[in-house]
């Protein structure tokens, strides 16, 4: 097994995982909540990218965090400082073997659902779409078109390129320029709502 570098061993999630592992099962409630706060958003992002569905990503996040806390409580995760790697592996396995794990997930949630510390996690604020529309209006036509066609259904550059008679490289350049301007415009205004 690869040695863990010093910074990884001292990462907040590693320190919190050690506290959970060192405590009697279920006794380190605050540490479990802290671990959830730290790692659940990361698992959710993985789920959003690989499952492309908010509900499925939320399910994956819950499952992986329940599994992680179970493993720490029971001592099965022998090197708690490797907790981030464990979570990544669990995310991958969950996505790959989603069907096989369906029953296990149900069992875990049934066992731990009432017991699982659910902390508030950071979710990016939703942007005011009128503000975004105003900022899109200020972009050159080509950049606006590429951004709309890209983000409407998360289309990759080669798909847009084929549809617009451009090269994929061209689309990436246009996309990059447009995105940079759009971000600066949106960030420049108070265009977020909770």
């Amino acid at each position: 097994m690869e040695a863990l570098d010093a910074s990884a061993a001292e990462a907040p999630e590693a320190l919190v995982a050690r506290r959970i592992a060192a405590a009697a099962p279920g006794a380190a409630r605050d540490a479990e909540a802290e671990l959830y706060r730290l790692l659940a958003p990361r698992a959710r992002r993985y789920g959003m990218r690989h499952l492309r569905n908010g509900d499925a990503a939320a399910d994956l996040m819950q499952h992986v965090m329940a599994l992680t806390i179970e493993q720490l409580r029971s001592g099965a995760l022998r090197e708690p400082e490797r907790v981030a790697s464990f979570v990544l592996g669990a995310c991958r396995m969950t996505v790959i073997e989603q069907r096989r794990l369906e029953r296990r997930r149900g069992d875990l949630l049934e066992r731990y659902a009432d017991d699982l510390p659910i902390a508030d996690i950071h979710v990016a604020p939703r942007l005011d779409h009128r503000r975004v529309a105003d900022c899109l209006d200020r972009l050159p036509e080509r950049e606006r078109s590429v951004l709309v066609m890209t983000f409407y259904d998360d289309a990759p550059a080669d798909a847009i390129a084929g549809e617009m008679g451009l090269s994929a490289g061209n689309v990436r350049v246009i996309r990059h320029r447009g995105l940079d301007k759009l971000r600066r415009c949106v960030d420049g205004g108070a265009g977020v709502t909770s």
Binding site: A84, L88, V132, E141, R142, D154, P156
Partner: protein
């Protein structure tokens, strides 16, 4: 402020490529790994996804006008979007409107685009005579032989009776050449 273990952060282009499934398997694994350890990059990704959601919401609300491809329009229609479409031949005109439940207004402007390097569109509205709005460097697909223009449908729904003229202009080496003029005679819904 979130802590991060990562020595460096991922460029936003990398995060976007990963999000859009443009990365190969090795790159995808590397970004997965990084994001499991780096909250700063995770928050950048969240902001990026939030921006994408904002673009999608603005477009769905009819607040964004754009030039698009035929395939893009076909995808929207196949997903059940209510699309009202007008196809105009070169130098043609049409009586047009938009219904309250239309979600997308599509104007297909047919034009001889072969050999065109840069295309501009000049817009003029009868309620502001003499005022011309020029859109430079409009994207187009030579093979399709048409420019597909999506106006802001939310604005069109509120618009009074008016005439809207679009002129497509080919630009090359400082010279300009009109390719065609397209006239939309708009009347509010319901059309008597």
């Amino acid at each position: 402020m979130s802590a991060t273990m990562a020595a460096g952060h991922l460029p936003i282009e990398t995060l976007l490529a990963w999000w859009l499934h443009e990365t190969d398997a090795a790159e995808t694994d590397a970004v997965d790994e990084h994001l499991l350890r780096c909250d700063a990059c995770g928050e950048t990704l969240d902001a990026l996804v939030g921006l994408a959601d904002g673009v999608r919401a603005a477009f769905k609300a009819g607040l964004v006008g754009a030039i698009a491809s035929g395939d893009f329009i076909a995808r929207l229609a196949s997903r059940g979007h209510r699309v009202r479409e007008y196809r105009l031949p070169c130098n043609g005109g049409v009586d047009c409107t938009v219904a309250p439940d239309d979600e997308l207004l599509v104007s297909r402007l047919q034009a001889p685009l072969a050999g065109v390097e840069r295309l501009d569109a000049v817009l003029e509205f009868s309620f502001a005579p003499g005022v011309r709005h020029r859109i430079e460097d409009v994207p187009f697909d030579v093979g399709a032989g048409e420019v597909i223009y999506l106006p802001k449908i939310a604005e069109v729904k509120r618009a009074p009776t008016h005439t809207h003229v679009v002129t497509l202009v080919a630009v090359a080496g400082g010279a300009e050449r009109e390719l065609g003029t397209y006239t939309f005679r708009h009347r509010p819904w319901p059309v008597a």
